[in-house]
Symmetry: none
DNA sequence: GATGAATGAGTATTCATTCAT
DNA sequence: GATGAATGAATACTCATTCAT
């Protein structure tokens, strides 16, 4: 059934085209600030075609959400699998955050996005449940990893600290871009912050 | 003229009523997701009446922004004025964050809000400039305070760390509320996080 | 009853103030393009006060209409009363048109206004009837006068020609102002036009 | 591609339907007195559909303006091309006015419309410039034609007289319709008026 | 598969008018 | 008398979605 397979592949390619356009627009203008007309224009299709590939604007949106969550899952699982000393692994995790932020800012923004109170107000209850499940899974991976790193069951707390800090720093930079303030922390300063944090988390000796 | 004064007071009260309704809705659904109809319904006025007190939906929005920024300014200045040992002052600042978050979550959300890339896309250039100015002032107060606390000019970096962490933690909790995950960190865990941070910032001796 | 009389006088004065403001705005922007807010602002009263002196925006409008029609009636009756040779009287009438256009353009515009198909669409049937009655009276005075001037019962036709020409010329100038075309006919050219017309109406000998 | 051509034709037909409805309403109630709802109802389409064919209410309006101006241009050029004796040509022109008024009163009203002070207040500066240009062209054709007819360079003045008279007569009839006065001048009386005018313009001998 | 055409429900804002003081 | 406050109805225009082809 080569024909059917090719059709399937083509269908997925088209969906990708649409998602690429939508992702950019949703990130820049938010859900309500983005129109199907804009999405259609950006991917050079008619508005009607969008609805052939997705049931609704909302489905396009949740597709992007799942895509982002899955991206994180894959990265975290890869790190989890590596064998390393605690301090090194902590640094590895931190660097992973850094890397995603640089190479895939859209997936980074996603995390901040999901944290906003209004984030899921347009999403159906079923979808919401699924998003919750998958996001929780991601957090659990990090918490387990950090349990191991700090050598006790405070992993959950440390995960909170580490993750919040990074999330906060990202937002801070976003805010400074908005507010046209000089961008801080720089790459070097980020390193300093990590050292401070690591000292706090693991003690001076590490 | 008692009459005129009473009128003025009543007018301010009405504006407050509108702002209270609008604040809640904007926080929950964002600017584009909130309609003047919703605001009017929430404060039990007609839509037209909104426009008697504010020139536009945008003016309502920016009024809320300024209100929040000013609230922070006042609190920060109060702390800045207190004479204290570094470690104690650090704790004071941390507690201030905590207190606002508990007593005025709406002003807390504001900070996260301002960080979003699309946050100010509906705001006129003049207003944007003013928001930038006042927000920057708030950050400067914190940076200066922390310079003094850590005893060197790394205040800016420390301010970044402290503030990002707290901002991140807030978002984390928001995210967990959204995602219906059990709420962490708890009050006690927050204390632990602060200890870790303080150790990282000031060294073990403090 | 001096008090009551003074009150009456004051009331009329206020009405005049309002009408002055309204006249200017209606002429410039039309009925639908003029708002009660604008009228109130122009005469430095509150919108509500307008409704103390007039029942509605429509009543303000029809008041202006009657005012204008009456102004014409008075002028025409004055000319009618003068004893003169036909050609001189024709010129007198023409000059009267000219004078009103220069000194009271608002009353001149009125005539053009009344001629427009949509002119009275906002006016109640009773008011419309009254306007029709009084306008017809004005036309009758002119027709009778011209019967006498041309010495036969073709006055009605001549009145039509004379009046249409003048009305048309006024509109022509209005159109040229709108279209920023050089203004023609000039005062001198108007005289030439009158000569042509008079020759046509009365024959070469006059 | 027959399909594409048919689509194009259908699209033009729909635009025409909308313009027909709009023309009637604008003539009767003016720009501000006509709503998109009314237009939509009149041509049995939804309001939204109007905006699929035209960018704005204003674009509908200016489309009508251009349509009318072009109609005049075509007729005038046709007459200009005919070789005739002066008096005959003058009559030809007069009859052309008459014909348009009878067969296309909407294009006749247009001229009166353009003359109103507020006529173009809703039109963009670019459009206004274009309207001015094209209207001026029409007048120039008439002035040149009349220069030739009267045999000297007084064409401009004669054009003013002729055109104003006709414009005025149209308005007069409009006014009488409004005011429910018996309609004058009749067809026969119009002829008499023309004779008077022609005598005035060309002298008794013609 | 893809799209031009069509629309019901909504969007911020304005308007003439009313009413309590 | 005068006005600040309030509003129902309307206004031009937009949006996500549907459907015939």
């Amino acid at each position: 059934m080569g024909v059917q397979e090719r059709r399937e592949r083509e269908r997925e390619a088209r969906k990708s085209t649409i998602l690429d356009a939508a992702r950019e627009l949703f990130l820049e203008h938010g859900f309500n600030g983005t129109t199907t007309k804009q999405i259609a224009a950006k991917c050079e299709l008619s508005e009607a075609t969008l609805f052939f590939y997705f049931q609704s604007k909302n489905e396009i949106f949740t597709s992007l959400l799942f895509e982002g969550i899955d991206f994180w899952t894959q990265g975290l699982k890869k790190i989890d699998a590596i064998k390393m000393k605690p301090r090194a692994k902590l640094e590895e995790l931190w660097n992973f955050y850094d890397q995603i932020r640089e190479e895939h800012p859209e997936y980074y923004q996603l995390s901040a996005f999901l944290a906003r109170p209004m984030a899921l107000s347009n999403v159906s209850e079923e979808m919401k449940a699924e998003i919750i499940r998958r996001s929780g899974e991601n957090f659990q991976i990090q918490a387990d990893m950090l349990d191991e790193i700090v050598g006790n069951s405070e992993g959950r707390i440390v995960a909170d600290l580490l993750w919040s800090t990074y999330l906060g720093l990202t937002l801070l930079q976003g805010s400074r871009t908005n507010l046209k303030t000089p961008l801080h922390p720089t790459k070097k300063e980020l390193k300093t912050i990590f050292e401070m944090l690591a000292r706090g988390l693991l003690g001076d000796s590490n």
